[in-house]
């Protein structure tokens, strides 16, 4: 059955409540006299409902994830006994501070005014930064976290690592990154274009959703260049590496995806690559500045505004 484009947009205005009341009433009258028009309206409503199914799917997935992660850290005011915990923590904190002050040679002498505490910074994303050595252009060549684990011990003692892994120093930047980072849209990647057949990406996606990030990397690596799922698999790998806090490896994979020139993957990848550099700030300041300049210069880039905002936030915490 053909579709009259003009009528399509008229029905759309009706269904989306964009018609003035009088026009809407007239439209209803026409519907009551014209069964074909009424059926076209029903069909378009079904089409809109399909969009709602997608929104609902995403929300259900989010809620399952939130449930696993636990509740957000807000609490209702009053009617709780958090003050008891608060006092306990305060006492414990004071004890630890006193101990550190006594043991530290450069610490304040007893009775001396302590230095004002730094603004508390979230350590939730505090990294164990791997040393960035090779940054391959081909995402498939980026080593996995698992491949690195053999070097972990040596890296722990590396002066470069020492320099980069200033947990408290980086925590501010990581907190900013945490505000901007958008997790992999697994729901959107799942089942894409497979017409009901087994999803080839299912193994990688399931591992990712179960937070088995190393498994996700391994599963994603099974898709070689030339495979039609390659870019999507690489996107999963890049996010998995990000979750593993291997920001330099993640950046390398995102960079290669961005060079694919395939929207929207390349644009998302450019943004995520920038976040990886922000996570490694100030060690990766040069890369961050270059990436930021590129995104902020491109007003048509889908992540332009976010990049501007990110630049401001990073500057603010410097």
């Amino acid at each position: 059955m053909e579709r009259d484009e003009q009528q399509f947009y008229e029905i759309e205005r009706f269904l989306l409540g964009e018609m003035p009341e009088a026009e809407s009433a007239e439209f209803r009258r026409r519907m009551s006299e014209n069964p074909e028009l009424a059926m076209a309206v029903e069909m378009q409503q079904m089409e809109l409902d399909a969009g709602e199914v997608l929104i609902e799917e995403q929300l259900r997935g989010d809620m399952a994830r939130w449930k696993e992660e636990g509740q957000p850290d807000h609490k209702p005011r009053g009617k709780n006994r958090n003050w008891i915990w608060g006092i306990g923590l305060l006492v414990a904190g004071l004890g630890v501070w006193a101990l550190v002050a006594v043991l530290q040679p450069g610490g304040p002498a007893p009775g001396q005014e302590p230095a004002p505490p730094e603004k508390p910074v979230s350590n939730e994303l505090a990294p164990k930064l791997p040393v960035a050595e090779n940054q391959p252009d081909d995402p498939g060549n980026a080593p996995t976290q698992q491949q690195e684990t053999g070097n972990e011990k040596a890296q722990d003692q590396s002066p470069v690592r020492e320099k980069n892994n200033t947990t408290t120093g980086n925590a501010r930047y990581l907190a900013v990154v945490g505000d901007f980072y958008e997790d992999l849209d697994a729901g959107n990647l799942r089942g894409a274009g497979n017409n009901g057949q087994t999803d080839p990406l299912a193994q990688a996606l399931t591992a990712y959703e179960n937070r088995q990030y190393e498994e996700a990397v391994k599963a994603a690596d099974q898709f070689g260049k030339g495979n039609s799922y390659y870019i999507r698999a690489q996107e999963i790998k890049a996010h998995a590496l990000f979750q593993l806090k291997a920001y330099d490896k993640s950046a390398a994979v995102f960079r290669a995806i961005s060079r694919s020139g395939l929207p929207p993957y390349n644009e998302r990848a450019q943004w995520n690559e920038l976040l990886c550099y922000a996570a490694r700030y100030p060690a990766d300041k040069a890369q961050f500045d270059a990436g930021l300049a590129a995104l902020t210069a491109d007003a048509g880039h889908p992540f332009h505004e976010k990049a501007v905002e990110l630049g401001k936030k990073i500057k603010a915490v410097q």
Partner: protein, 194 residues
């Protein structure tokens, strides 16, 4: 995550905002202990168990979100009151399905003062639409979702990497034609119309 509960204005803005804002807003609702406890208590008082309460809470969030986006909330009450009215309305519907032989009176549905009707997507219809969505591809799914979230064509173009709002409009129309083709080939959809 903010340590304070959001006020109604902030919540409304978030639910009709960008995907990131929506996620933050919805997560606030999901983690709101007061709204959840009120839901659990109502379901318990009306014959349900703890699991029913959990399920109703999640379904109510979905319906609440949809109603807010569809401008069904007229601002006659606080969002909390509105949410709980949806909980009551939804649970009442569930009870009617579970106990059709019982005479459920208005005492079971004590939210008569609130007009909270919401469009519930029934299982069969959802299944049919899932099948339809499998036919349209990745980009179309993304476009259809953003369009339902009332993103402008410019924003859709940006999100999916199209060069202009015009291109997004054409692409959206093309995606809709794909759905239509599926419906035309599966005329049973008419039986699923609410």
């Amino acid at each position: 995550m903010s340590k304070n509960l959001w006020d109604d204005e902030a919540l409304l803005k978030a639910l009709t905002g960008s995907e990131m804002e929506r996620e933050k807003g919805l997560r606030q609702i999901f983690g709101n202990p007061e709204w959840k406890n009120l839901t659990l208590r109502h379901v318990r008082e009306k014959g349900g168990n703890e699991q029913d309460g959990e399920d109703v809470f999640q379904e109510a969030i979905i319906l609440f979100d949809r109603n807010i986006r569809e401008n069904r909330f007229k601002g006659d009450s606080s969002l909390k009151t509105y949410f709980i009215a949806i909980v009551k309305w939804y649970w009442w519907g569930q009870l009617r399905k579970r106990r059709p032989q019982d005479e459920l009176t208005v005492q079971h549905h004590d939210s008569a003062q609130e007009s909270v009707e919401a469009r519930v997507m029934e299982g069969e219809k959802r299944h049919f639409l899932d099948e339809a969505l499998k036919q349209v591809g990745d980009r179309c799914r993304q476009i259809l979702k953003l369009y339902s979230l009332r993103y402008s064509m410019e924003e859709i173009a940006q999100q999916v990497g199209l060069s202009s709002a015009d291109m997004a409009k054409k692409e959206n129309y093309r995606c809709r034609l794909k759905l239509k083709a599926f419906f035309d080939n599966n005329p049973g959809w008419l039986n699923l119309v609410n």
